[in-house]
Amino acid sequence: MATKMKIKAGKSGGHDVLVLAKHPMETGLRKDAKTGEKVPEHFITTMKFSLNGEEFAQAHLGPGVSANPLVTTNLTSAKSGDTVSVSWVDNKGESDSAEATVS
């Protein structure tokens, strides 16, 4: 479970915060090709975005989000040197986080 974060200048102003999380995002509807049994659902439920420790966005995902979710949010007034962090948790209680500095 690796999570990557990138911050770049947003096209419509501010800074875009891109998060790429490695996750299967199973819907619970897909069948295993070999056994024919349904693969249990396993997906990220909530991603929390913070700027200098203060939460600015909380994204709730469902099983309808593609595998290895790439989620973008935007910060209107982040300054150089600010710390942006993200943490996620899935429906099995697994979690991961990532951090980046605004350049």
């Binding site: 929390k48 600015f56 966005a57 909380q58 469902g62």
Partner: protein, 154 residues
């Protein structure tokens, strides 16, 4: 059958306990910390909106821009980007004909800009609604996305 339902019930309650304890440990947040299960598992657009926002009344808005393909070759990965000039409190992405239309719901604080993008799965060709909550009201923009190979189940 009884044993099965008992097991189901005990699993459900243990996840609830886990969720509750996590809520207690997490730092105080300006957002409702719970995953909006009712909204995300709802089977229709109206049910999902009612569960998430308490209303399904929406106004079409030019202030919401959707960047998404008109035709997606692979329904398993359909990039959708929403940009709005409205002061957004929340943005929701709904694929109308998915088994559970509400794919994602993001709550935005005052430091966040009106941009959200996510890659979604689509089972079939369907209108995709992007709903923005601003000032307690709902605004939406809709784009039909054609899917040639579905990405839900198999």
């Amino acid at each position: 059958m009884k044993r099965r339902s008992f097991l189901k019930a005990s699993v459900a309650s243990s996840t609830l306990v886990a969720a509750a304890s996590m809520g207690l440990l997490a730092p105080i947040s300006v957002f409702a910390a719970d995953w909006p299960e009712a909204a995300i598992t709802a089977n229709t657009v109206d049910d999902a909106l009612n569960a998430a926002f308490g209303t399904s009344e929406m106004t079409d808005s030019d202030a919401i821009t959707i960047q998404a393909p008109l035709q997606a070759e692979n329904g398993a990965v359909v990039p959708v980007k929403i940009t709005t000039t409205l002061p957004a409190e929340a943005i929701a992405v709904l694929a109308e004909k998915n088994p559970a239309p509400m794919v994602s719901l993001v709550q935005l604080g005052s430091a966040a800009g009106g941009v959200y993008s996510v890659r979604i799965k689509m089972g079939t060709t369907s209108p995709v609604h992007c709903v923005v909550q601003s000032g307690g009201k709902l605004y939406k923009a809709t784009q039909e996305i054609k899917v040639t190979v579905g990405g839900c189940g198999g």
